[in-house]
């Protein structure tokens, strides 16, 4: 569904509402994902849908209804359900009214027509390139190639109207040998830039070089964490910058803003317009997103807000609302970690003894306020000695405070877009001193 059709539909739904304030989100998606294992496609899917979300607020009482049927009867039912919910909800005296937004311009490169038009045949050909690299290296590949387009329109009864069209594509490759594996990912907006052969070769090189891994002792290690691993790790810190966690006391930031928590070389932003990850320029209330400094030279500077939490805390609205309703409050969703000055190769060359980590798995918080998390290495873990990668090592579990890690960190000069189902960020590799591995495995 194109922008004009979405905007027409949004206004049609608003016209059906007759009580309180109303906000409509029209979201249209058309996505395909080709998944493979053992050098063959095994799950090959596509999905097209338009969903509607209506928030009705009557005298501070909020109800939300959603649907994906677009006929007149379904739209009337949607309006009736949201109003019925609102009438039965409890009044929230803080509710500031729906947002009145100004226009926000989509960043360059957010929508690429070739990505929106990508076919299953194109995805299958990219997958076949990956299989070829795997077979030449006597490996088997597992992963996916995906392409998709998304269009969103947000309109409300206060005159807000915001529309955006974007595309995304990516690949995720794990190359497998009998006792080792290697990982590579690529995420972008332009399918023309998706280089399956290059990523497959990076993953294959890791799998080949980590064959016959040996055990190393748990303990405190110098680690170099490549961007796919660091992107996942940092996502467990950036949620602390949401206004709700800050206010309610579960965030480490409850100790206060404008304090130095990490090293002076650490600056982290939320930036929807970064060239490696151009995305939606407004939030799910239609409010223009601000570029927000989370850490600036080690000092915590801001939390992100939406209209509700801006009013509640008396802070500016930074434009970070999630779709209503949500129990997490506003969150940073376009995290960018400022890079350093040395390449990853230089960071490795300067390491006397350490561990190179390609990817983490199953990170979970252990202690929220102390930002201690646990997780595992996977898919390419290496021992570094005298500045050289010398061999693969068996996987290890870590227990580590992220804040403590960022107190002893040096970033590479090579940012990359890292993404999974729960986060998307632009991050460099990170060299961290004193990283705590607490147990090992037999693989």
């Amino acid at each position: 569904m194109d922008r004009a059709a979405r905007e027409s539909l949004a206004h049609k739904i608003l016209a059906l509402t007759d009580r309180g304030e109303n906000e409509v989100i029209v979201f249209a998606a058309d996505d395909g994902l080709t998944r493979f294992t053992h050098n063959a496609i095994h799950q090959n899917v596509a999905h097209a849908e338009t969903t509607l979300r209506l928030r009705t607020v009557i005298d501070g009482r909020t109800g939300v209804a959603s649907a994906n049927a677009l006929d007149d009867a379904a739209l009337a039912e949607l309006a009736a359900r949201a109003a019925a919910m609102a009438q039965l909800s409890a009044r929230d005296d803080v509710f500031p009214g729906l947002a009145q937004s100004t226009a926000a311009e989509a960043p360059s490169g957010a929508f690429v027509a070739a990505t929106a038009q990508a076919t299953p045949d194109l995805r299958a050909r990219r997958a076949a390139e990956i299989f070829g690299v795997a077979e030449r290296n006597e490996l088997w590949a597992a992963g996916y190639v995906k392409t998709g387009s998304q269009g969103i329109t947000i309109a409300n009864s206060r005159g807000t109207l915001a529309s955006f069209d974007g595309t995304d594509c990516g690949l995720n490759i794990k190359q497998n040998a009998a006792d080792s594996a290697g990982f590579a990912e690529w995420n972008g907006n332009d399918v023309g830039a998706l280089d399956a052969g290059r990523a497959a070769s990076i993953a294959a090189d890791k799998a080949v070089r980590s064959r016959a891994p040996e055990s190393i002792e748990p303990g405190e290690w110098t680690v170099i964490i490549e961007s796919p691993a660091f992107g996942e790790l940092i996502s467990y810190l950036t949620d602390h910058f949401g206004a709700q966690a800050f206010d309610e006391g579960s965030s480490f930031l409850s100790e206060g803003l404008d304090r130095k928590y990490v090293g002076e070389n650490v600056s982290i932003f939320d930036d929807y317009a970064h060239p490696l990850a151009p995305s939606m320029p407004f939030d799910y209330e239609g409010v223009a997103k601000q570029r927000v400094a989370l850490f600036e030279r080690g000092v915590a500077k801001n939390v992100v807000t939406d209209s509700y939490w801006a009013a509640k805390l008396g802070r500016p609205n930074t434009g970070h609302a999630l779709p209503a309703p949500n129990s997490e409050g506003p969150l940073p969703t376009n995290v960018v970690v400022a890079p350093g000055t040395k390449t990853t190769a230089q960071l490795i060359a300067e390491t006397k003894r350490g561990v190179l980590v390609s990817r983490f798995w199953y990170i979970r918080p252990v202690d929220l306020r102390r930002t201690i998390v646990t997780g595992m290495t996977r898919d390419g873990t290496f021992l570094i000695e005298k500045g050289q990668i010398v061999r693969g090592v068996r996987n290890m579990r870590f227990n580590q405070s992220i804040l403590a890690a960022l107190g002893n960190v040096e970033f590479s000069s090579e940012p990359a877009r890292s993404a999974a189902y729960s986060y998307s960020s632009v991050v460099p590799a990170a060299k961290i001193e004193g990283f705590r591995f607490t147990s090992s495995t037999d693989f």
Partner: protein, 486 residues
């Protein structure tokens, strides 16, 4: 009883796929309704009513599968989606080096509805909101409670499944759950407590599931425990005997048995994301997974369990089958395709999150059968140990061996008796070693089918609703205090 609503569009889509060359096609329609109510510090922060209607088509062509999903119920929409599924299968077949075996042949014509006492929609919304407001209010037993939460979820799903082998299956499924949690905040610490279990109590059924959870009756205790944890001593570190509460045993089953025994994972289908498994078919009947106290079964027919249905999402009939029998590995969770590779029949463990999603293997209802001792007897014989309840952190490697769990609350065990409260209990282990250290499981009086509403797997990521029935259990010589011992 539920009527067939989508038979005509289903036959159109199946015929379109057949005309395009598909050797087998099935189509699954879903009309899903979900309602969530969440109260936070006296404010109803979520009151949502979501409805989604659509269908997913699976087409089999030349040994390859294609899946396409859409919400356009017009003739043109059905034709386009069915054609897309076939085109995707053909694209896969064109680059296939290996092919799936023959298409399914089973045929069922049947109807099923979850037995319920009260449909949530029949309970006035004001009454449902009031119950949660009252429970949340009662959590604020001390001023140190910064956040109180109470929530309920109710899903009503009408599914219709049709296949080119002639299956016509209609199911009306109800799943409901609720819970409460309290966050206490001190000067440099925050501690939370959740009830029941660690995500609430989720079952197949209606509003009676929420009423049975006794949220209000337990809210003040949960609030007080969260506050007392701020002052409690840190759980000690070292190797010791532990007793796990029932909901934690449930999660232990989920992570270190349920996922490990998914045959698609064992075959590498999840290798790039949720991982592989330390198991393989050669270990059936040979691997001593746990002690002889440990018997774990798939039972997707268990009345009231969260994942109970009559048929799975590829049209196979629910059964009960053993996974671990008296400690010995004897089975896996399987689909038709995967079961065929090891010479077995499916045990109907295939589910999709919604019509949008491709069906895949899920652990569904995976139950640890109860033992033969009263709960209190689990503490007997422990000189120095810890009783641990309610998960708040879970992590396990991508072979499902090395795990670490953190829980909300613990109590020391001294000379067979439960003692003072401990905060931040964690424990870690390696899967078969841990399950072989299990020497007692509480009896059926404390056996609960704990539903898990948020199990992640697959790409695109799907959230599955599973269940693991469990009772509290005792484990010997476990590493405790990991994460806080440095």
């Amino acid at each position: 009883m539920n009527e067939l609503v989508f038979e005509s569009p289903a036959q159109r889509a199946l015929e379109t796929a057949r005309a395009r060359g598909a050797a087998y096609t099935d189509i699954r329609f879903e009309d899903g309704r979900s309602e969530r109510i969440e109260v936070r510090n006296g404010v109803v922060v979520t009151l949502s009513d979501d409805r989604t209607v659509g269908y997913g088509v699976r087409a089999f062509y030349d040994g390859a599968w294609g899946f396409a999903a859409g919400d356009d119920l017009s003739d043109a929409g059905l034709d386009a989606t069915a054609a897309r599924a076939v085109a995707i299968a053909k694209a896969g077949a064109a680059v296939a080096s290996r092919r799936f075996a023959e298409a399914p042949a089973e045929r069922y014509v049947d109807r099923y509805a979850t037995p319920i006492e009260r449909a949530p929609s029949d309970v006035p919304l004001g009454e449902r909101v009031a119950l949660l407001l009252e429970a949340e209010r009662a959590l604020h037993a001390t001023p140190r409670i910064s956040v109180g939460r109470a929530w309920s979820d109710a899903w009503r799903t009408e599914k219709e499944f049709y296949s080119t082998t002639g299956s016509k299956i209609a199911q009306l499924l109800y799943q409901t759950g609720s819970g409460i949690s309290a966050l206490a905040v001190g000067e440099h610490d925050a501690q939370d407590r959740t009830f029941p279990g660690d995500v609430g109590l989720y079952k197949a059924g209606g509003w009676e599931v929420v009423e049975s959870a006794q949220l209000t009756e337990n809210a003040a205790r949960i609030g007080e425990e969260a506050s007392r944890l701020l002052d409690a001593p840190q759980c000690p570190s070292g190797e010791m005997d532990i007793v796990l509460g029932g909901s934690q045993v449930s999660l232990q089953i989920h992570e270190s048995c349920g996922h490990a025994a998914e045959l698609d994972r064992i075959m590498g289908w999840e290798a790039n994301f949720s991982g592989t498994s330390f198991l393989d078919p050669s270990l059936l009947g040979k691997l001593r997974y746990g002690s002889d106290k440990v018997t774990i079964v798939i039972d997707n027919t268990l009345p009231g369990a969260f994942a109970t249905v009559a048929y799975d999402d590829e049209g196979s009939k629910s059964v009960r089958s053993d996974i671990i029998r008296n400690g010995m590995l004897v089975g896996f969770e399987m689909s038709r395709d995967t079961a065929r590779t090891i010479g077995r029949d499916t045990n109907a463990c295939v589910r999709a999150q919604s019509w949008r999603h491709i069906p895949m293997i899920r652990m569904c209802n995976l139950n640890l059968l109860p033992g033969d001792v009263p709960f209190e007897a689990l503490f007997e014989g422990i000189r120095d140990g810890v009783y641990i309840e309610s998960n708040r952190s879970w992590s396990i490697d991508d072979h499902r061996l090395n795990f670490q769990f953190g829980c909300e609350i613990g109590w020391e065990i001294k000379n067979g008796r439960r003692g003072r409260m401990l905060k931040n209990p964690t424990y870690a282990g390696v899967t078969p070693r841990f399950w072989n250290s299990c020497d007692a499981i509480a009896d059926e009086r404390s056996w609960v089918a704990w539903g898990t509403p948020n199990c992640g797997k697959g790409e695109p990521m799907q959230t599955g609703r599973t269940s693991q029935a469990a009772a509290p259990a005792r484990f010997r010589k476990v590493r405790v205090g990991v994460g806080y011992d440095g």
